[in-house]
Amino acid sequence: MIWLQQNAGMLWGLTLVHAGLSIPPIILGFVVSLPLGWLAYRFRVPRHAKIAFGGVVLTAGGLLYAIPSLALFMVLPGILGTSILDPVNVEVALTLYAIALMVRTTADALASVEPDVRDSSKALGLSGWQSFWRVELPLAGGPLLAGLRVVSVSTVSLLSVAAVIGVNTLGYLFLDGLQRDFPLEVSVGIVGSVVVAAVFDAVLVLVGRLAMPWQKALRESRLTGVGEAAAS
């Protein structure tokens, strides 16, 4: 307990760095995956060439996701020409993982929109662009949010590995605790990382509720049965 009090400032600093470095990969991963996922969904069947563009994107994502994080952190400086200790390496690696995961989620989410709904929006005179933003994307919101929550949890968890290459996230407590043979310090790091992940998850759920109020109606109609009055 004394250790906790004496090091509260350092712990808070590490937590802020950890949380701060988690945000760009999550947001960038989502933003980049929207067009890529749409392309993967749109061109999932081969047209002119033998191989579908969508399949190539998804396979590339799968291969990228198979690469262990520490190894990716290590090879990126050689490819990007950055310094080994530069946090940019970690940010790029985690953004790549986020894209790899979200592209498939986005393609699947867009494919889950009922063809009838798509046709209806076309019949109402919406252009392809309008249909995407006003009909397809909102309806794909549920699975997209679920995918983003997975990205968020794994990004926060992976950031602790970045301490190995000198980026001072909460993972620093693991390495320092190992050197000093001090399990409490390591445990505090684990709890801190889990709490950051939980806070991010809560924020995503909240943003989802605010951005997609219809999801609540959908959930309730599923729970109570369509047409029935809610019990509570």
């Binding site: 994080s69 590995v161 190995v164």
Partner: protein, 230 residues
């Protein structure tokens, strides 16, 4: 790109293939640790996952526990168990199995659940017992998803054993940690290339296995197995 040339020169150097620190020994350790992790995780999670998928009970609990485990930082779990239980292979093995169980479990129950309920009803209608339905219908038809769970767990184990080399256990991650201590980027890069190649080869082998386990009847009927990416 100079680092690629340096790393390949490092990998081509015969001196790095000899002795207990040589590539063959460390690759062997990495593969053996990963294999043992998978076997233990499968022994725990496959029966449980089949049971959850077959009965439909305990699914939400399994989802919640798996989701919670995903937020655990792997490096921290490995280190805290090593400090509490002592050095050696036991503590990190426990950590690795804990991390490998959720994907295997998810693959097992979603594989069994993915079988068309009409097929299960038909199996019951021809007089199969619950046990026979599970082993002759649900598991064979759900096998691509089950293997998919093992595939995720294998990749997770390869990645985590790399990180776990912070403990004196050997494995390919040792090259990375040794090189960080001496700031030898050539060795860091070469060690990382070895880890990446191992992960991609294992991923590829599991991808092939997923295609091979699709029952002949399903292939003949033109049914695309759900777990195999197009």
């Amino acid at each position: 790109m100079i680092w690629f040339a340096n790393a390949f020169a490092w990998l081509a150097d015969p001196a790095h293939y000899a002795g207990v620190n040589g590539i063959p020994v460390r690759l062997g350790q990495h593969v053996a640790y990963t294999g043992i992790t998978l076997v233990i995780a499968a022994a725990v999670a496959l029966p449980l996952g089949f049971l959850i998928g077959h009965t439909g009970k305990g699914r939400s609990l399994a989802v919640q526990v798996s989701g919670g485990l995903r937020s655990l930082p792997t490096l921290g779990l490995v280190i805290v168990l090593a400090l509490l239980l002592g050095l050696g292979i036991g503590a990190p093995m426990i950590a690795l199995v804990i991390l490998a169980v959720p994907p295997v479990l998810a693959g097992a129950y979603s594989g069994v659940e993915s079988v068309d309920p009409r097929v299960v009803d038909a199996a019951r209608a021809v007089g199969m017992t619950g046990w026979q339905v599970l082993w002759r219908v649900e598991v064979p038809l759900g096998l691509p998803l089950v293997i998919g769970g093992l595939r995720s767990a294998a990749l997770q184990a390869i990645a985590t054993w790399t990180v776990a080399a912070v403990l004196p256990l050997g494995g390919l991650g040792r090259y990375i940690y040794d090189a960080i201590a001496t700031y030898d980027y050539t060795e860091m890069f070469a060690g990382s290339v070895l880890v990446i190649v191992l992960a991609l080869v294992v991923d590829g082998l599991f991808a092939v296995l997923q295609r091979l386990v699709v029952p002949r009847g399903v292939v003949a009927a033109g049914g695309a197995p759900a777990a195999v990416p197009a």
